[in-house]
Structures are given as structure tokens and as C-alpha cells.
Amino acid sequence: MGELLINNTGVPVLAYQLVSLIMFFAGIYGFFTRRNLMMILISVELILNAADINFAVFNRYLYPGEMEGMFFALFTIAIAACETAVAIAIIINVYRNFGNAEVDNLKKMKG
């Protein structure tokens, strides 16, 4: 395990992968377990961030001469910003209607 994480040429890709993996599943865990909409949004941000790291890392390690991964990460960040803005608007609306921001209020989705 040691030489997988530390070798002479620097940090191996696997190390980055593990970091983003843990971040990703932490986000998923939060998404499943939290009730507050803001907490769910935080979890979603974690998931997105984990994906961003992956883009950048693969770009750097596999195709260092090109920039696709980096641009993907850039655009993902922009999308995350949009998504956050809309989501927060919705959450505020939910709060205004129900007096709190709990996801259980939104069971009206049920047919």
C-alpha cells in the first residue's frame, strides 16, 4: 500500500482518487440522511466537488498537454453556482410556505 501512495515521482493518481472517493460518498451519505434542505444542498456540493477533482486529476495525469478536464471542471463549477442559486431560491420559498426547510414537506411530489 505504501508504494502505491508514495513514490519517487510524486503523488500517485490513486491518492487523489481516494480523496475524491471519500468526499463523494460522504456527500451521498449526507444526501441520504439529512432532512434539512440546506444540508442536502451542502451534500450535493460535496458530490460535485469530488467530481471536479476527478476531472482535473485525470487531465493532469493522463493527458497533460490538453485542457478538457480543466474546462470541464470550470464549467461544472459554473453550473454548481447556478444550481445553488436556484436551489436556494426554492428553499427560501419552501421555508416561506411551510415555516421550515425540511425535505419532508416536499412529499407532495407523490402523485
Binding site: 513514490n7 515521482t9 510524486g10 503523488v11 500517485p12 480523496v19 472517493l21 471519500i22 468526499m23 460518498f25 460522504a26 456527500g27 451521498i28 451519505y29 449526507g30 441520504f32 440522511t33 439529512r34 432532512r35 434539512n36 440546506m38 444540508m39 444542498l41 451542502i42 451534500s43 456540493e45 460535496l46 466537488n49 471536479d52 482535473a56 486529476v57 493532469r60 495525469y61 497533460p64 498537454g65 490538453e66 485542457m67 478538457e68 480543466m70 474546462f71 471542471a73 464549467f75 463549477i77 459554473a78 453550473i79 454548481a80 453556482a81 447556478c82 445553488t84 442559486a85 436556484v86 436556494i88 431560491a89 426554492i90 428553499i91 427560501i92 416561506r96 411551510f98 415555516g99 421550515n100
Partner: protein, 179 residues
């Protein structure tokens, strides 16, 4: 060697604070932990040599989005209240699935990335390159996506205003909690 030490420091920060962010009972603390995670991620970008990405991450995420978060939390959260977590069996089930997924993906990554350890230098893309790529129309240039993104942002601003706006009828209607 310095690089590796920095990386592991950042990795520990990311790991610990992500887990704390999703398990903390206080929502403001969660947001703060998220901020740390985002900043550490920015550090990882810098370590990879993507300075522009680092700048964007810090300014957009850690700057813009976090401010929005904090404001929204203050708007929708009554001070002193802890945010509840779901019932026990749901938590256990979620934990189980998350760990299972972690192990599965870890297994896949272990099997598939063992050979890829070469680190082909740190030629960071210059700002000129990035600008040309972002505003060009040729191969591997992203003007279309860029413009799409700007339209998306605009739509998003309009949408957010529209959704969050207070309508007159809403004021008059009794809200459902009162019923």
C-alpha cells in the same frame, strides 16, 4: 517531498471535514466545514498546477457560493435549533450503502489505476492558452459551451428571482402550517 507532505495534509483536511460536514448537527458548522473542504480542494488544484482553476474555485465556490449558503442558512434557520437526522434504520441503511459503494469503487480504482503513476511535469496552461481555448471556435475550443453557460447563468438569475419573489396572493393566503 514537500509536495507530498502538502498533498497529504490537504487530503486529511478534505477527508475529515467532508465527513464532519455531513454528520455535524449544527448547520452553520456544516457550512463552515464545507468551506474548509472547498478551500482544501482549491489547494489540490494548485498542487496539480491548475492555478486558474484554483482561482475560480476560491472565488466562486469559497467566495460566492459560500456567502449564499451562509445567508440562506440564516434566512431559513431558527437560531439554536439543531438540524435533525433521520431515524436510525435509515441512517444505518445509508451508511451501509455508502460504505459498500466506497469499497466497490475503491476496488475498481485500485484495479485500474495501479499502472498510472507517472506525473508528466507541471506545465501549467497559461492564461493566454486558456483564454484562446475558451473563446475560440475551433477544435478543443469552447466558445459554444461558454456562451451556453452565460445563458444558463442569466436564466438562473431570472429563475431565482422569480421563484423567491413574494407574490401578493401568497401574503393573503394562510400558509399550510397554519391550517
Amino acid at each position: 517531498m514537500t509536495e507530498q507532505i502538502i498533498f497529504y495534509l490537504l487530503a486529511i483536511v478534505v477527508t475529515v471535514f467532508s465527513i464532519l460536514a455531513v454528520t455535524s448537527k449544527r448547520i452553520v458548522r456544516s457550512a463552515t466545514y464545507l468551506l474548509f473542504v472547498l478551500l482544501a480542494t482549491a489547494g489540490l488544484y494548485m498542487l496539480l498546477g491548475y492555478y486558474f482553476l484554483f482561482a475560480v474555485q476560491v472565488s466562486v465556490y469559497a467566495g460566492g457560493i459560500m456567502v449564499l449558503f451562509i445567508m440562506a442558512i440564516f434566512l431559513t434557520h431558527k437560531p439554536g435549533n439543531n438540524v435533525s437526522i433521520k431515524q436510525g434504520w435509515r441512517v444505518r441503511l445509508s451508511l451501509l450503502l455508502s460504505v459498500a459503494g466506497l469499497l466497490l469503487c475503491g476496488e475498481i480504482i485500485l484495479n485500474n489505476t495501479i499502472g498510472i503513476v507517472r506525473f508528466a511535469g507541471k506545465e501549467e496552461p497559461t492564461m493566454q492558452q486558456i483564454g484562446t481555448a475558451m473563446l475560440g471556435t475551433g477544435k478543443q475550443q469552447y466558445l459554444l459551451s461558454f456562451e451556453m453557460m452565460s445563458i444558463l447563468l442569466l436564466a438562473c438569475i431570472v429563475g431565482a428571482i422569480l421563484i423567491a419573489r413574494k407574490t401578493k396572493t401568497e401574503k393573503n393566503e394562510p400558509n399550510e402550517t397554519e391550517l
